[in-house]
Amino acid sequence: MSDFLTTLLSSVIFLPALGALLLCIVPIRSDRFIKQFSLAVTAVVFAITLWMAWPASSANEPGRFALGMANMQSMVLHEWIPSWNIYYFLGIDGISFPLALLTSFLSVLAMGASWPIAKHVKGYCVLFLLLETGMLGVFMSLDFFLFYVFWEVMLLPMYFLIGIWGGPRREYAAIKFFLFTLVGSVLLLVAMLMLYFNSDLRLLGPQQLADCRVVETKDAPEVQNILKDAKPVHTFNILALAEMGQAERSPFAQALWLGKSVSWWAFLFMFIGFVIKLPAVPVHTWLPEAHVEAPTPISMILAGVLLKMGGYGVLRFCYPICPDAAYELAWLVCGIGTLSMVYGAFAALAQKDFKRLVAYSSVSHMGYVLLGIGAWSAYAGNNYNADYWMWGMNGAMFQMIAHGLSSAGMFFLVGVIYDRVHHRNLDQFGGLFAKMPLYSGISVGIFFAALGLPGLCGFIGEVFVVLGCWSYSTALAVLAASVVVLTAGYILWTIQRVYLGAEYKGPHGDAITPITFRETAIAVPLLALAVVFGVYPKAMFDYMSPSIDKTVNALADWTRGHEKQKSPGDIIIGGVTPRIIIQEEEEEKLNPMMNDE
């Protein structure tokens, strides 16, 4: 069974790389065949992930995703670099698997959208497939080192894909993308090493070790080897790091610099690293540039998948491993999230370039993810009730998938019109409804999904996040809710300028032809899924929520334990309470009663 799982998960990750290798060594001249071959590879990968996602006919079918299971499943563990305790450790749960599925799905569509690419097709396809390997690896690794390797593997193909196949300012954009991400990577590396050298497997019990797959079973002889070791046993195992981070006497709690703990610094470094990827204000400026210059399919991948890695990282690493820092810095996470939402929406309103507008809308929409994750509504003031946080976090996770669909769709649709008229100036469109009715209809649908219209996927994530946030901070929740007006503003204005109106106002008007079958086949699945998830979001929550609820519950329990240790004076109460009713005298009335008890 283990062999089967190894083959299964490895093939999901490495099939694209294998395809890339084949393309490299087999001399093929036909560009068309190269594209078809690459499309086939991505399709096979998608088929495998889809097979994994399909509800099992019988219980406990290996490889199939077990619905309702909160823990990691389909785990695969092999030694890789034993002297550094590095393992080839893969697995999926409700947080990573939907994202992996999204990745494989969008890769197929993006490959389909790559048909107009004419320059160095072989190189393009090789890099594209390598990129897919990197992305899938990031979502499926459970070893921090392995994760980091995939994280970096993904970076280089992206750099070249933007830098070679991009628009006029591609080099600037590519280097900017590369440098920003590299800064994040370096911080991530530092945090990873900090955590590694402070980790100590001896602190965990036999059961925990078995749960984290450090050992096969809790009775295995290795358990005693670990526990009786004279020196600390370090680990890159993400699950074990999380167990340690949430332990009562966490090894990461010791002070490091400036009176702050290892955990605090590690959180900060990882958070910055992930937030650059997300991206959030103020480290988002690489995004509009990269999107504007990147070719359409790469924009789709960038918006649909790469941004999600930021959210995934925060959810998978920052919070479970460094809960105390996350708790202390929750205001920062939420603040940055809300700032991104408002800032991105305002910036989008001012854009003249179609692609830039969509890029800023991404900044705005990904802000919801941070807010949903960060709104730590399990505090003493509500008896550590985790319910509202669960809504926020599930909403954030849903928002990632929803945004993956809608933003990829929007970038594709911008690409469709760009391929025809070769400009993106919003003021020089108009009247497309008459010339491209089907295209315009699909566009309006996808843009409304981004607008957060009920019945489409964007709505669920946004509303759940906002609902979860109120209990943490009413002020932030109100600010976040106000974004709906701005979003409606820039989306409707865009629709008006591009699709409505009497006639087309820009150059190359003759080139506007109705949408082709290939383009329809890419756009329609995105819209269809946006509708399905908007109408029946449980289809997605059934996969995600057990794992997310477990994470939130664990953190809520952790909060209770954590605050018990502290003096009552330091408790964070949650948001600000506008006391509308209380008058001075009533407060006095209250006091004697308090004395009685």
Binding site: G381, P454, C469, L486, G501, I581, K589
Partner: protein, 813 residues
């Protein structure tokens, strides 16, 4: 009763099916998509039949028993009518028990279809909440919608062929030619009907919000139906964005409800608890007005707890475990509630939800979108912007009524009153026939809000129904006129009665109905009854709260203005001499498909306030069944000391007699003035315009709201977005670029250092070696003796060195 969800659910989903069919196959349905009209009409008529069936099912289960409402001005209520005038507060309490005892509480049919999400102990569902109000709304919406679907066959027939849009001029100077979009129109209508019915059947406030947005988007599509017209797409954007401002408030209300009550469900619902047992949990209404508290409003536990978060934090810190803390908190909740904690959040929730209603029902200050929304085809104006969607705000206030505190009701009353007045003033001077009707709609919606704020639940909701019929009628009549004359401007019409008798007469009926015409104290058109209810409630309210009496006076003035501008409209359109010969000559009566709906709606406008002969059935009595428990007794605000009078007080014969008199007099006054100005031309409207020049300017510019909003909101928002975009480019990017440049500088510095120092050193070493080589070249003399000598000396030296090191190395081993 179990069949109700099925019946209404099917009625709700039929238009959706029609929408999906037309979306996919619309253009292939018959010639130019004509079949789409039949599909959509069939769906909505079937929905109407189902709704009517549901109504009979409901009535057979809950027959209307005792005569209620205005027709029951009998002796038994007269006796505590006297008490009512003495002290309202006392009466509120005295009659409380009596009323609840008298009124049998009819439980709604509530349940869930499926879950949108369920995490922890909370969930959001798609469900239903069916009571008499739901059923009446279904009946009304499907009926008006059916009429409008049929009417549109005639009105939209141009769209069946190539259309020339005379309002759009292309760059080439020609008018726009485009393909007809008949099927698209019906597609949007179907989507709208689905959304509207979903809003009505919704079992929870989140689902209301979902369909709230969906009706908004349908409205967006239909206002902007003529997508080529800039004015249409502007109006559509404006409508949606202004509504979103209201929705922003509504989201705040939703969040307050969600955090304070832990559910969105209106009614009580079953849900599995942690142990997996099905338990009943209280919905919003039960939490705000628990049966244990005699259905009186109180802050729900969650809101109390939320208001006392800091104290709870202390308790939690001190207690051993979660359960223990929970117990202690439970013990304290009632005390906190008595001290007023949590009540503020109830107000926030109420105001928030009401914000949504302000947007949707075009109330001041968000009324600005409705007049512009008249850019849409007239049937749309009739259905969406008169009869149903804009009334959704009023419906929601009625639905959410149990949760509104007296303070919120006062805000509602004030907003309603301001709206009804300013909209009526705008209607006085407008010349565009549809705009007059739009202003009138805003004004009438203000009436409904005012009535609800007065504590007159029945009055407000009743007016919603009667208004739906007569306003749909009026719009359809105006559509008929526009269709015949191709203009909206009343100054170009006149004398059309001869050409369009059916339209003229039905429109006159509509005008009479909205003005509240009737034979006082005996019988009248539908508006006569519903307006009486409102005036009577206002009278009681004014009596209870003399400080807020002006609300009542304005509403009475509004009644007069309504009558005036409606008859002004009718006179200008149908009587007098034709002012534009060309228009008059081309005018013609509309086709039967347009006239039949007019007649049906005219009949409904006349009779919808009447009792069905030989039964107790009448609209107000049916609606009475849905009056939320606990609200019928009125309320007292502890914060600001004012009273929401119980509604039954307004049904006392004395009050009603007086109210009917006032309403009738005002309507008559308006009618007489309109006749004097526009009918018999005894007075010249231009004189009045000159006399009140300033007022006229304010009214004709719609009180300058658009201009002000442009200055206060739109431009600043665009300016901020401009700044942010600038900051992004020149601020943040500047930092990034310059730090990159700095790095480049460092690199060049490093490069320079490398060349000048590191490389120099290497070069020096190399040069030194070279020079050494040159020097050593001198040794190469060619003299054999010298070589042998050097060899010998060297060898000896080597041996000595090796000997020394060898031993040293050996000793180490």
């Amino acid at each position: 009763m179990d069949t109700l969800p099925l019946l209404l659910g099917t009625a709700w989903l039929l238009p959706l099916a029609s929408f999906a069919l037309i979306l996919l196959f619309g253009s292939r349905m018959g010639k130019a998509g004509r079949g789409a009209g039949f599909v959509a009409t069939a769906a909505i008529v079937a929905a109407f039949v189902l709704s009517a069936t549901a109504l009979t099912v409901w009535l057979s289960a809950h027959p209307i028993e005792a005569p209620a409402g205005h027709s029951s001005a009998t002796a038994d209520s007269a006796e505590h009518g006297a008490a009512a005038k003495e002290n309202h507060a006392a009466d509120t309490h005295a009659s409380a028990g009596e009323t609840t005892a008298a009124k049998k509480i009819i439980p709604p049919v509530a349940g869930d279809w499926y879950e949108l999400g369920a995490f922890g102990t909370k969930r959001i569902t798609i469900g239903y909440y069916i009571d008499a109000l739901t059923i009446a709304m279904f009946f009304m919406v499907t009926m008006v919608a059916s009429c409008i679907h049929i009417y549109s066959f005639g009105y939209m027939h141009e769209e069946l062929s190539e259309v020339t849009d005379h309002q759009v001029t292309l760059a080439s100077g020609q008018h726009l030619h485009r393909r007809g979009r008949f099927h698209r129109f019906y597609q949007y209508l179907s989507l709208f009907c689905f959304s509207m019915l979903g809003l009505v059947i919704a079992g929870n406030i989140a689902m209301v919000f979902v369909f709230w947005e969906l009706v908004g988007i349908c409205s967006y599509f239909l206002i902007g139906f003529y997508i080529e017209r800039k004015s249409a797409s502007n109006a559509a954007n404006k409508a949606f964005i202004v509504n979103r401002v209201g929705d922003f408030g509504m989201i705040i209300g939703l969040m307050a409800v969600w955090t304070g009550m832990g559910t969105f469900s209106f009614g009580d619902y079953e849900m599995k608890d942690a142990q997996g047992r099905e338990t009943m949990r209280p919905g919003i209404f039960s939490q705000a007005r628990p049966a244990g508290n005699d259905f009186q409003l109180q802050a729900p536990d969650g809101m109390v707890k939320f208001a006392k978060r800091d104290e709870i934090a202390e308790i939690v810190q001190k207690s051993e475990n979660a359960a223990d803390a929970e117990l202690q908190i439970e013990k304290r909740i009632d005390g906190w509630r008595k001290d007023g904690f949590g009540y503020g959040w109830l107000i926030v929730a109420g105001l928030g939800i009401f914000c949504g209603c302000v947007g949707k029902s075009a109330q001041f200050p968000l009324h600005v979108w409705l007049p512009d929304a008249m850019e849409g085809p007239t049937p749309v104006s009739a259905l969406i912007h008169a009869a149903t969607m804009v009334a959704a705000g009023v419906y929601l206030v009625g639905r959410f009524y149990p949760v509104f505190t007296p303070e919120v009701l006062m805000v509602i009353a004030y907003i309603g009153c301001i709206t009804l007045f300013i909209a009526a003033t705008m209607a006085l001077v407008a010349t565009d026939i549809k705009r007059v009707l739009a202003f009138s709609t805003v004004s009438q919606l203000g009436y409904m809000m005012l009535a609800l704020g007065f504590g007159g639940w029945l009055a407000g909701i009743f007016h919603l129904f009667t208004h739906a019929f007569f306003k749909a009628l009026l719009f359809l009549c105006s559509g008929s006129v526009i269709h015949a004359t191709h203009t909206n401007e009343m100054p170009r019409m006149g004398g059309l009665l001869k050409k369009m008798p059916y339209t003229g007469i039905t429109m006159l009926i509509g005008c009479l109905a909205i003005a509240g015409a009737g034979i006082p104290w005996i019988i009248g058109l539908s508006g006569y009854y519903s307006k009486d209810f409102i005036i009577a409630q206002g009278l009681v309210y004014q009596h209870a709260n003399p400080l807020h009496g002006w609300l009542f006076y304005f509403s009475v003035a509004g009644a007069g203005m309504t009558s005036f501008y409606m008859f002004r409209l009718w006179y200008m359109t149908f009587l007098g001499t034709p002012r534009d010969k060309h228009v008059y000559d081309h005018a013609h009566e509309s086709t039967p498909s347009m006239l039949v709906p007019l007649v049906i709606l005219a009949v409904m406008s006349v009779i919808s306030g009447w009792k069905v002969p030989f039964t107790n059935l009448e609209l107000p009595a049916l609606l009475t069944q849905a009056i939320p428990s606990g609200t019928e007794e009125g309320a007292v605000s502890n914060l600001t000391k004012f009273y929401i009078p119980a509604e039954h007080l307004s049904h006392e014969s004395g009050v009603h007699f007086f109210a009917t008199g006032i309403a009738f007099l005002m309507a008559l006054l308006g009618f007489v003035l309109a006749t004097a100005f526009y009918g018999t031309k005894r007075l010249d409207p231009n004189d009045a315009r000159r006399t009140f020049a300033t007022l006229y300017r304010i009214f004709i510019h719609k009180w300058y709201f658009d201009e002000a909003y442009q200055k206060i909101f739109v431009r600043p928002a665009l300016a901020i977005s401009g700044w942010i975009a600038w900051l992004d480019k020149n601020g943040l990017d500047w930092i990034a670029d310059n730090s990159a440049r700095l790095m480049g500088l460092c690199a060049r510095l490093d490069d320079w250092f490398d060349r000048k120092f590191v490389d120099r050193l290497i070069d020096l070493v190399a040069a030194g070696t070279y020079r050494l080589g040159i020097r050593l070249k001198a040794l190469q003399t060619g003299s054999l003796r010298q070589y042998v000598m050097l060899l010998a000396v060297g060898l000896a030296a080597l041996f000595m060195i090796m000997n020394f090191y060898w031993n040293f190395a050996m000793s180490k081993m």
